[in-house]
Amino acid sequence: MKNIRVIPLLHIKGPNVVKPVQTEALRIVGDPKELAEKYYQDGADEIIYLDIVASLYQRSFDFDLLKSVSRDIFVPFTVGGGIRTIQDIKNALRVGADKVAVNTHAIKNPDFLKEAARVFGSQCVVLFVEAKKIEEGKWEAYTDGGREKTGLDAVEWAKRGVDLGVGEILITSIDRDGTQKGYESELVSAITSWAPISVIAHGGAGDFQTAEDVILRNKADAIALSSSFHYKNFSVKELKERLFSKGIDVRL
């Protein structure tokens, strides 16, 4: 048996949780510590914490905020946004991260993934792929919170990441993020169809059906959601109970 993981994802900007819609139009959602603790208490299997401006402005990560947010969270905590050095990863692990998600810096310097996996183990390194559709069945990888094109094919880049030793893939659809119109099913399938490691689908979760579909049809190993939880479409617990009622194994 394998339990599907349900993972609230927090976009952090300054001291706030915000919610981008297709990476733009930020809305302040709330306090990171309060939200993280609420989701933890409600049965979140992990938490993903992405600083969405650290990478863009080459700003260093706010480790003090991370430490305070992670303090009372006793499930795995994945941290991303602006991770550029081995020292950044050490610092993140010292203040409550269990894994790091890397995008921008890995695209500029793919060997960073290899080095990070060698030093901290594959299990610690999540490849964060931000993908935007360019034509039917093709997606381009973006960096810097979905703002910068890379010219790389997102699926090929994910394959490269696996070869370089990452332990998981977090795939975000830039086109769907914040829209609540459903996960981008073809994109998720384009990764899960070959990936030998876990794939976390993100971007577009709306109602229960969108979550069920990406698990049952597109074979996501884990689902990340933000808007649906932030705007109280349903709670973590309600979603997991619903998935369970549909025959999907989850931790209850």
Partner: protein
């Protein structure tokens, strides 16, 4: 109730032998006792009343990390002294005799057994990442151990590619099934405990194990 910190003044050392999510384990122990410290020195280890050996990464790197800090013999002596020791993930694997990750390497040999890769026959993704149930090989086996959950089902968080294979079945404290493949998810020999999963990351039930471990001290 989980927040009660009435465990006395005994000191618990977390061994820092390189790169680990040390804050995660220290804050979990910190829920139940104020007497937790992180050390990478033999003197620190020897002054402790109980030890937690955390760890992420590869088997060889783990043993090298202990060796480089002159801690290998110290941990063996600590365990033989009868004081409680808890290995987590790689820290649990190191308690066994040998590891087969990227070569063959000697472990601490405190419990006889080996650390091997998940067999090819397992038709699921490796690393195994996620929440799975742990259960005792025989009912009642958890009584008076740190796994005493009063019979409740326990789900724990796993993240690993290698599994522990103790030589003697009596050293198997818990089993877990992943995609139909049953493996040893916790080991024990008297005062020595090892968990393949991460109790410090396994919500309230995992904290129950941490609490019980603190209670041994």
């Amino acid at each position: 109730m989980l927040d009660s910190k009435n465990m006395g003044n005994h000191r618990i050392a977390i061994i820092d032998y390189g790169l680990s999510n040390l804050y995660s384990i220290s804050k979990a122990l910190g829920r139940f006792t104020d007497n937790v410290f992180i050390t990478d020195e033999l003197s620190g280890l020897n002054s402790a009343d109980a030890v937690v050996l955390p760890g992420v990464g590869a088997f060889e790197e783990g043993m090298k990390g202990l060796e480089a800090r002159g801690l290998t013999e110290g941990i063996k002596k600590f365990a033989i002294s009868g004081r409680p020791i808890l290995g987590i993930c790689l820290g649990a694997q190191l308690l066994l005799s040998k590891g087969y990750e990227f070569g063959v390497f000697d472990g601490l040999d405190l419990i006889k057994g080996e650390v091997v890769k998940f067999p090819e026959a397992v038709k699921e993704k490796i690393p195994h990442i996620g929440w799975n149930e742990i259960y005792p090989p025989e009912s009642g086996q958890w009584n008076k151990t740190i796994f005493d959950f009063s019979g409740k089902k326990a789900n724990m968080y796993f993240i690993h590619s290698y599994i522990m294979k103790p030589e003697k079945s009596e050293n198997i404290l818990a089993l877990t099934s992943y995609a139909g493949f049953e493996f040893c998810s916790a080991i024990r020999q008297k005062n020595i405990y090892g968990c393949q999963f991460h109790p410090e990351k396994s919500a309230e039930q995992g904290l129950g194990i941490i609490k019980n471990f603190v209670g041994l001290v």
